[in-house]
């Protein structure tokens, strides 16, 4: 009897330890004046990641802070600790109860909760980061912030086309969902565009998708093994785009000498320092800037709901700048300009 008691107590204690990751709310910014005229309060509800994740959540949080600074308001965040609509809804309610003006929800996982909350609180403006909206079903106080990933993919693909010596380029990516597809297809077309300029015949850029749905973005061993397989067949510039799966690929490519890898979403020079030996650039979504712009539009009274597109770009070359000839750098900058201005199409639908 005593034994089972000890066992039970241990089990409970261990399980509690495992779950002991409470929702943390930054109370550093005084939000008691929210709701009074002239005070702008911005609340960020993260998905299960932290605001220090050096990725989506952090970028959105930094964007909110920059926005708050620009409009003379304050920003706070709540980190969600479960990927459920209830959890997200509760966290949004916390901000709403304190009369926040703008609520930012991060990631497509929060889409349902955000749509519901926007309908519930018509006076509050909502920004859904990476949430493509069905505008027939959403209220005008909700803006879905999206990106043209194919543009970022095209730019780094164009660079890859100039960097490859073997003419073989590949992309090791996560699940085949629209944003990932757009990155990969843009990359493919970018390489082809460079090949055409160079008057060379490259084999079509290979795209390797992850098979499973539940761990498609958190399988570094998959990314590493597939990258190694590509490397051993002479592929020398690889776009590794897909959360942890992609990061595994980046780290592996860095071990091979004289190969280039390209990161995704944010400047991965900082997020995956292991990859610095090969990381020539990253295809970026300017998440923070997108959030900041929307916050400013709120203050200016021009906030418009529906799907909004943020800017994309590519990260600096950092130490690998010396490996990219100045002429190529100039060409890439020129193409990036054309792509972003819309005068050159990526050819991705």
């Amino acid at each position: 009897m005593k034994k089972s008691l000890v066992a039970g107590a241990t089990a409970v204690a261990l399980a509690v330890l495992g779950f002991a990751a409470p929702a943390s709310m930054a109370a550093t910014n005084d939000d008691s004046k929210c709701g009074t005229a002239g005070v702008t309060c911005i609340g960020v509800v993260t998905d299960i990641g932290h605001v220090t994740d050096k990725s989506f959540n952090q970028a959105a949080w930094e964007g909110a802070q920059a926005g708050a600074k620009a409009v003379g308001g304050i920003a706070n965040y709540i980190e969600s600790n479960a990927a459920t609509d209830t959890e997200y809804g509760n966290n949004i309610d916390l901000f709403a109860a304190k009369h926040y003006n703008v609520i930012v929800t991060v990631g497509f996982l929060e889409a349902n909760a955000t749509v519901a909350a926007a309908a519930k609180y018509p006076d509050i403006k909502f920004i859904g980061v990476d949430q493509f909206l069905d505008t027939t079903k959403t209220t005008p106080n909700l803006a879905g912030l999206n990106w043209h990933e194919d543009q970022a993919g095209f730019i780094v693909g164009y660079l890859a086309g100039y960097l490859t010596k073997t003419g073989k380029t590949g992309a090791v990516v996560g699940m085949n969902i629209p944003p990932v597809y757009r990155y990969a297809a843009g990359f493919q077309n970018g390489v082809a565009y460079a090949a055409k300029e160079l008057k060379k015949k490259y084999p079509v850029t290979k795209i390797i998708y992850h098979p499973a749905a539940d761990n498609a973005f958190s399988d570094p061993a998959f990314g590493a093994s597939n990258s190694a397989q590509l490397l051993s067949q002479g592929y020398d510039v690889i776009f590794a785009a897909g959360g942890g799966t992609g990061n595994g690929g980046l780290a592996r490519i860095a071990k091979a000498k004289g190969k280039f890898c390209i990161g995704v979403d944010v400047d991965q020079w900082n997020t995956v320092p292991e990859a610095q030996a090969c990381l020539v650039t990253s295809a970026e979504k300017l998440i923070g800037a997108g959030v900041t712009d929307l916050v400013k539009s709120y203050k200016a009274g021009t906030f418009a709901g529906g799907n909004v597109y943020g800017k994309v770009g590519f990260a600096p070359y950092h130490a690998l700048s010396s490996k990219v000839p100045a002429a190529v750098q100039a060409k890439v900058a020129a193409v990036a300009k054309k792509i972003l201005a819309g005068s050159l199409s990526t050819g991705v639908k």
Binding site: A11, D219, F222, S225, Q229, S232, P273
Partner: protein, 335 residues
């Protein structure tokens, strides 16, 4: 080797499967040696972590303890291994810490299941939840290890035609070590006194006890040894195969390993073959995407390893027999 392939019986599915794989391999090698070598090497890379993880299961279950906490064991040890290596700037210390963490985690499992006679599935679940929660909570991005275990060719062996480039080239030391460790575990289980005791404890602990074997001790040691291998896999993935820690990096490998263990009939060589087969299917699916087979949607191509696994399981089903005392609490009868 007889136990590996059974008696050489032309009708045996194992024989047929082995023959089929060999024929396909030789055919591909002749058609395009470089790509074939690359695919087989990739299959080894995919398969080795799974194979080693299934050794954890075999060590535990052969002695009668079900361990579904392999996933958590690997996750925790990869975590400690990586961060210690990052902190001390020494991957050798990192790997040792990973192995020790694996042993400690499994010791907790052993304590719960053997000493306190808890339900073994629940104990394993606790370890998985604990590992997932702790590593996510304590996770900090931006740490790096100074270097990772290098990849190299084994001299002489790598120059053997046909198998050299596939098995002994461009892999890391832990990958190569696995090629020695797995047969060693087979020898341990089938050819040593310790193995005989382990198996007897797993099949009929009552009789083993009567014969003077300490059931508790044998089980404890086997589970902890299994944990050491689990720790090795964690270190393998984080310090050699990938070279970084990321949240939930195990991505279900611990559970796949359990399936491979069953497919391999709780036999180390069998589980190894199963893992390599699974890895090869994975590498082939990648290769089909590299070849750019355009008339099949990529969703179907990426499904192949799983379809393949199901087919193999279907054809080999019906003969599986786990250790008889597996999952049952052993209580010594009071005199």
């Amino acid at each position: 080797m007889q136990r590996v392939f059974g008696s050489i019986n032309i009708k045996s599915w194992k024989f047929l499967l082995t023959a089929a794989v060999l024929i396909v391999w030789i055919y591909c090698y002749v058609a395009n040696g470089d790509v074939t070598n690359s695919v087989v090497a990739s299959g080894m890379r995919f398969g080795m972590p799974l194979a080693l993880a299934s050794m954890v299961g075999i060590m535990c279950e052969r002695s009668g303890i079900v361990n579904i906490g392999i996933e958590g064991t690997m996750l925790l040890s990869g975590f400690t291994g990586f961060y210690v290596a990052s902190y001390t700037k020494n991957i050798i210390i990192g790997l040792i810490i990973a192995i020790l963490t694996g042993m400690l985690t499994s010791f907790v499992h052993a304590l719960m299941t053997i000493q306190w006679q808890m339900d073994q599935i629940i104990a394993g679940t606790i370890i998985n939840i604990l590992a997932s929660g702790l590593t996510s909570f304590l996770y900090k991005e931006g740490s790096t290890v100074p270097n990772t275990w290098p990849i190299f060719d084994i001299p002489i062996l790598s120059r053997i035609p046909f198998i050299g480039h596939a098995f002994f080239s461009q892999q890391g030391p832990i990958q190569y070590f696995g090629l020695i460790l797995i047969p060693a575990i087979w020898v341990l289980i089938y050819k040593t006194r310790w193995g005989l005791r382990t198996r007897s404890v797993g099949e009929n602990p009552g009789s083993a006890d009567t014969a003077g074997i300490s059931v508790i001790k044998v089980r404890m040691i086997n589970v902890v040894l299994g944990g050491a291998i689990g720790g090795l896999v964690g270190g393998f993935i984080c310090l050699e195969l990938v070279g970084s820690f990321s949240k939930e990096f195990t991505a279900g490998a611990g559970f796949t390993a359990l399936a491979l263990m069953i497919f391999g009939r709780w036999n180390p060589m069998g589980a190894f073959a199963a893992a390599i087969l699974f890895g090869l299917a994975q590498a082939l699916s990648t290769q089909l995407q590299i070849f750019g087979v355009n008339n099949i949607p990529n969703q179907f191509i990426t499904l192949l390893p799983y379809v393949f696994t199901i087919l193999v399981l279907v054809f080999s089903a019906g003969k599986v027999r786990p250790p008889a005392a597996e999952g049952k609490v052993y209580k010594k009868e009071e005199a």
